[in-house]
Symmetry: C2
Subunit: 670 residues, 2 copies
């Protein structure tokens, strides 16, 4: 295992940083990834990916047109899934995602939704006969499917989707139809050009009566020619902020017929005579979303870790400004403002990564319990995964963009990798449940809990028990050096309690002022979101501190401790409004929090490069000229730029056509 | 003049919003743009631009490759400058920028730096003989020039640029040379492919002695063939986060010779015998930067206004969720969380726009004074333009991105225009002076001022006089309804004073703790930035309230008043740490600030569409499917998507090459 990333020919400054580290990078990496075996496995997978010719890009993808990129991705995803046996299928959260990110980079591809939504939905919604038919076809890649839920006019509120599936008793068929422009299916990944099948959530109509949203599977394209079938209009939705390599698509049905057996019937059924049999439980199908959100938290944490790695390595080799006239210029990592921009996000990436493990473990436990018919943790999982997804994606987006800005002009170039990381990650604020909607779902749970507590009728979920604890009136915080984890956790808990109870009372007050419940909820919704955030943040702090308590290496524990304190103090300072609420923290304490942050930054500075080295990113995974392991950035930027499509010729046609004649005509007149 | 944007066939919801407005959009627009004449002039320019065939794009530029976009921009900039006579040349700040944005959209082009930096630098640095030679050539477009300052390894700290210009007495030439990879000129707009001349800041070396940075003008490409001249390596630097239509370039000199008269000699001179004559004043050349920053503040405010317009119009036609089961879905603009995301930035766009006018006026006054040899306002202009640029670009970037996120999935599509607005505007945080560096320059001025006040030796600039006022210990704030402008301004001033004096004392304390001045400055730098921000924010609030005091129409004044209060309260809440410092604001007051924000949002909601209509954006200028005047978004998105390069054929070659064989082979085995 590499304990040390130094190699001959590296940039001098970055080598000096590595030589000065106070801890073993190998040990820290093993702690992050859950042991030396896991780390070794990462290196095996990397080696395998690097050895496969058909996994390689002919040129860096950022120089490709959309068409080239879609084609390159299709080529790679077929090659990758051909060799999927290399990966431990039971560890999709870690091995699977890592393998995919090494081959596909930060983009989606023709089969992203095939694996992420199409197959899981078949598994969850098809009855046994349907499973026997569809699952082998899908799993062996005999068809490519996507999941076409969102419409032009409807996203989050799926009960109002407009697409209809009307049962025709005569022919025993459903007629899928798009009744208006706003009902056009829109956004689904792989729908535009790649998929030949899709799962279609649509309103089930029998004899003019709407039975609500049900799931249908429809063939979209001819298996041999891949042409859209009659009654189907389909295409790509055009360029987006990121993810250029996937064909997000639109789909319009014109009275398109599918057999009765293409409605998934695990829960509801339509018999051939048109009789409708309703499901026993109404909420049995959010498993897929929860799964995707759990994966997202880990992936998002890794994106932030990558951005932080790039920013810190670049800040170590970039020199600018001098403190004494005539002296060597300063590494920009030495500026406190630069540390302040980057290191709190380094801390967040650790906290989020460890929290992701906790969500994953909970997901595994719930899945096991559900197979035994136990549902007690479902609510907790739903709340945590929604809340985490929302808090994490937002902080990750902010953090990546700060890292990008901290790299100055070069951060704006695609050479840095940072614009791609940002546009890829920030989409997570919107998909799989828009963040504000998610936070308000968490808030609904919190307000219900407070109501139960107030009515002394509380049966509390584990994650909400702290709401019952006695109020603490004043924080004990004095100095960052001496503060204990337990004190910090008490601060987080009390700030959350203050915000949550305040919001509950505010809701009550608004109703007393003659607002309806819905109006009051709406008026208080910004505070409700804040209550949810503090609840989640509090959970994350606890989870982090309990995780690092397992660390047995003093040199590693020291760093993890500094990171935990930086995370805590920075979070308190970012939520000053809530932590000073009811004067829980005083002006003096808040000042000590701020000054504490600055001092911790100084303490972490000497190990900053080694800490990000511990994320164990290869140059392949990082895909950033600025973040290269060897620190030899400037020469590599020049080489990178030579790929520019504008550099294919010395003189562009713009000279002959426009600029040349303009200049010549002017000069001839002088 | 259009007082009302309603037309037959518009989306019903947006029409209803417009019918319900409490004020005349025409009057508000006239107030924003400085009178009905100015507004009429905007409409004339729009009509002219729309009437010129060669100003039109063949397809929306977001569907073009970089090469197509660069070519389209070159074509348009020639056409545009051919017809520049249509524009009042004395009003470059408003007419000029408006004209350019209508023709060129949100992108730079082959001649951005020719007009923005090349010509102004000639005007500022050339002596009279040089002016006579170069200015006509440049102004008539006989050559295209750029300004090549930044190097791969050096941006902000220009004193350490590495490129050398060594005087050769024998031939009376300067030898321009790039001594290392990091000395490669990098980033200059139009350098890669379009320009045939550039101004080169380089270290002047005479007889081995470095005389510091001086400005040279160098021919880069042959006038007839446009090929790079011997000794010059030049190219495009590759794709960036935004501005795809400009060829930012790199440039390497290999002992490239230029005549002695190609050094600009207005201030320093090199005689033919190599004798060096130093300039009388050392700081006479930042005029260009200040000019560009002043323009930027206005342009950035307009970008934010555009984003807010898109988000509000879309929120008026988008319906999602229901408050009563079975009722019509809710316009998302009715959600308080949505209002909270967007409306504070609506308020900011007004405040920034009015502040931009103030910077512009100051710039004009300073320019006039300087021509009379008076320099008293130079410092004030430098501080204000640096501080404004920094505060405004950062808030604008945050605001645009919030608006984009508030549009959900569709905000991520280039159809919304928002990814382009963001990537265009956010670059402003970095260029023309990185924001943190700018804030620290403002802080240096503030700390110097406090030192003078403490030593009773203060001769204060106008903008700093409030620092002398008596300390106020407690804010008077009670309720948003009754608070007066003067009270809010007192709050801003006191918060700024508290932050500025606290930071000064913190600096002193750090030095007492045995840090050197440089170390102390570095340790306190985050607080120093915050001090600068509050200083600038305070100035902006004053400037806004003094501007709206001129409004004589009660219905307009009512809205401007609400906007001013929303801006103030939202700013206080965002800077909770500083406003609660020294307990200047209490917990109760901060709560009233927050709840006040929510109530003002409700009060502004009914006029939100009319307020953004008052920005008078045409659909051409806005360039957003989501922000269309008529609100008919969904059908237009479908039409827009048809341009996608992936939709040129029904079946991509990916099917035949990769996906088809994979599926067929699997199906044949089942």
């Amino acid at each position: 295992m590499r304990h040390n990333l130094i190699e001959p020919g590296d940039n001098e400054d970055i080598t000096k940083e590595r030589r000065g580290a106070s801890f073993s990078v190998g040990k820290m990496a093993a702690f992050i990834y859950g042991g030396e075996d896991k780390l070794r496995r990462r290196h095996e997978i990397l080696k395998f990916v690097e050895s496969q010719e058909d996994f390689q890009d002919p040129i860096p993808p950022e120089f490709m047109s959309r068409e080239e990129r879609v084609e390159n991705n299709a080529r790679k995803i077929v090659a990758m899934t051909n060799k999927i046996a290399f990966i431990d299928q039971s560890d999709i959260f870690e091995e699977g995602l890592f393998f995919q990110s090494l081959v596909m980079g930060r983009d989606f591809h023709a089969m992203s939704l095939h694996y992420g939504m199409f197959i899981p939905t078949i598994q969850g919604q098809a009855d046994d006969d349907q499973l026997d038919y569809w699952l082998p076809l899908a799993v062996t890649r005999g068809i490519i499917g996507t999941y076409a839920q969102t419409e032009l006019g409807h996203g989050t509120n799926i009960s109002r989707l407009e697409t209809t599936a009307t049962y025709d008793r005569e022919t025993e068929e459903f007629v899928l139809h798009t009744p208006s422009v706003s009902a056009t299916k829109w956004w689904s990944g792989g729908l535009g050009k790649s998929s030949n099948y899709a799962i279609i959530p649509a309103q089930l109509i029998i004899d003019g009566s709407n039975k609500g949203l049900h799931m249908f599977i429809a063939q979209l394209r001819d298996l041999d020619t891949h042409m859209p079938l009659p009654g189907i209009t389909i295409g790509d939705i055009g360029p987006k902020m990121g993810i250029p390599g996937i064909d997000n698509g639109f789909l319009i049905f014109n009275n398109y017929r599918i057999p009765r057996k293409n409605m998934f019937m695990r829960y509801s059924k339509v018999l051939s005579n048109g009789e409708y049999i309703a499901p026993k439980h109404s909420k049995l199908r959010y498993g897929t979303m929860v799964f995707v959100r759990s994966i997202m938290v880990r992936d998002q944490a890794m994106q932030l870790a990558a951005a932080v790695t790039i920013a810190i390595r670049y800040s170590a080799i970039r020199r600018q400004g001098e403190w004494k006239p005539g002296s060597k210029e300063v590494q920009i990592l030495d500026y406190r403002t630069q540390q302040y921009r980057i290191l709190p996000y380094l801390a967040q990436s650790f906290v989020f990564l460890f929290a992701a493990t906790e969500v994953k473990d909970l997901y595994m436990r719930v899945t096991k319990q559900l197979s035994d018919g136990i549902t007690e943790l479902v609510q907790e999982l739903h709340i945590l995964s929604s809340g985490f997804k929302s808090v994490v994606t937002w902080e990750v987006a902010k953090g990546i963009e700060q890292c990008r800005l901290a790299c100055g002009g070069h951060g704006y170039s695609h050479a840095s990798g940072l614009p791609e990381i940002y546009s890829f990650a920030v989409a997570g604020c919107t998909y799989e449940g828009e963040n504000i909607v998610m936070l308000l779902q968490v808030a609904r749970f919190l307000m219900k809990t407070v109501k139960e507590i107030r009515s002394s009728n509380a049966h509390l979920e584990e994650i909400a028990k702290y709401l019952l604890s006695n109020r603490k009136y004043r924080s004990n915080f004095r100095m960052w050096q001496t503060v204990k984890y337990e004190d910090l956790i008490e601060d987080f808990e009390q700030a959350a309690r203050n915000q949550i109870y305040f919001t509950f009372d505010y809701l009550q007050q608004l109703q007393k002022d003659n607002l309806s419940l819905e109006e009051a909820w709406n008026c208080a919704s910004v505070e409700l979101c804040q209550a949810s955030r503090l609840h989640i943040i509090c959970f994350m702090a606890k989870s982090y501190f309990s995780k690092i308590a397992q660390c047995t290496e003093p040199e590693i524990a020291r760093i993890l401790n500094l990171i935990g304190k930086l995370y805590s103090l920075h979070t308190i300072s970012s939520h000053c409004y809530s932590f000073r609420k009811a004067d829980y923290m005083s002006d003096e304490q808040m000042k000590n929090v701020k000054c504490g942050i600055y001092e911790i930054l100084g303490n972490l500075r000497p190990d900053a490069v080694a800490i990000v080295d511990s994320f164990d990113f290869s140059d392949r995974e990082l895909h950033s000229v600025l973040g290269r392991r060897d620190g030899n950035v400037y020469g590599a930027m020049l080489e990178w730029a030579k790929h520019s499509e504008l550099n294919k010729t010395e003189v562009l046609s713009t000279f002959e056509k426009f600029l040349g004649p303009m200049m010549e005509s002017s000069r001839s007149k002088i």
